[in-house]
Amino acid sequence: MHQDDSRPAMALLPQAARRAYSRSMMTVATPLLPPADWRDFLALTKPRVMTLVVFTGLCGMLAAPVGIPPVLGFTAILCIALGAGAAGALNQWYEADIDAKMRRTQKRPLPDGRMDRESALHFGVGLAAFSVILMYFAINLAAAAILTVSILFYVLVYTVWLKRRTPQNIVIGGAAGAFPPLIGWAAATGQVATLPLLLFGLVFLWTPPHFWALALFVKTDYANAGVPMLPVVAGERVTRRQIGLYTIPMALVAILPWPLGLTGPLYGGVASVTTAIFAALALVVATRTTGADDTMKPEKRLFSYSILYLFVVFGALVVDRWVFA
């Protein structure tokens, strides 16, 4: 136990005191906190983000032309979830100082002072290693290799390198979230093909409009934290235009599997309709300007719809592949 007898247990202190203590500890090697609750370790894994990752990974696996035994399929999805959780934990470990400055994230275990940074680091590294090793031994080398790349990409390229340096952070960093369909496909087949690469492209191109829509209505939060998100650095007009511009290639990649003969008309129809709605919502956001006391309704609508969009398109892909296989 690393609890000094002279110190009060942190959890018994008021929240403000815990936060202040946690901030002061961010530069100290061995923080003195009581053991964190297991729920805080769960919160480190960003369970809500994990839902989309698991779903797209599952769809990539189910869309593959080769079946995988249910136990191995479950294991592969578990590894994807654990890998995503590890990346989320390492992201929160590195960004504890930024999280403390943003209203949306200041209740997370590290900025709230419920956990020491060392525990978060050990948990993240351990979980990452466990997920990759299990994927390799239970599934195959290709899936384990792509999982490794996705974790390293999210932690090193996005979190450590890009996020604090460039407004293009989520454009390049978005690739990290695009790997799960590739991993799912590779878990089933042992290799990579055109369709999962297109799915990778879809999530990759979907990420900028999705995140910039969010960044438009939480701009102050990002500005306070010093994160160079596009609306903070380049302004709203540029961000709105970029949302519109990224939606064009995203729409093309979303529909492309159909004319290429990789999917049937069911996917083609659903992708066309849902993408048209996405484009219409993006167009509204791209062409408007923020007024005084603006509630940012179109931006919030685009952000919410973009999440539903990805679920529907990937779900349609699986159904289509099963129906027309």
């Binding site: 609890q3 009060p8 247990a9 009581p34 053991p35």
Partner: protein, 44 residues
Amino acid sequence: MTPDEQDLIRQRQRSRARVMALLLGAFVILIFAIAITKIRQGMI
């Protein structure tokens, strides 16, 4: 350290140990299921 602080720490340790035991149990079952599946599929 006050009794309250000691209680909190013991409580956290107990709940973490319980969760860890559950996870280890689940892991053993998973490895067993993977091994059986692979043997049946002729993978090992």
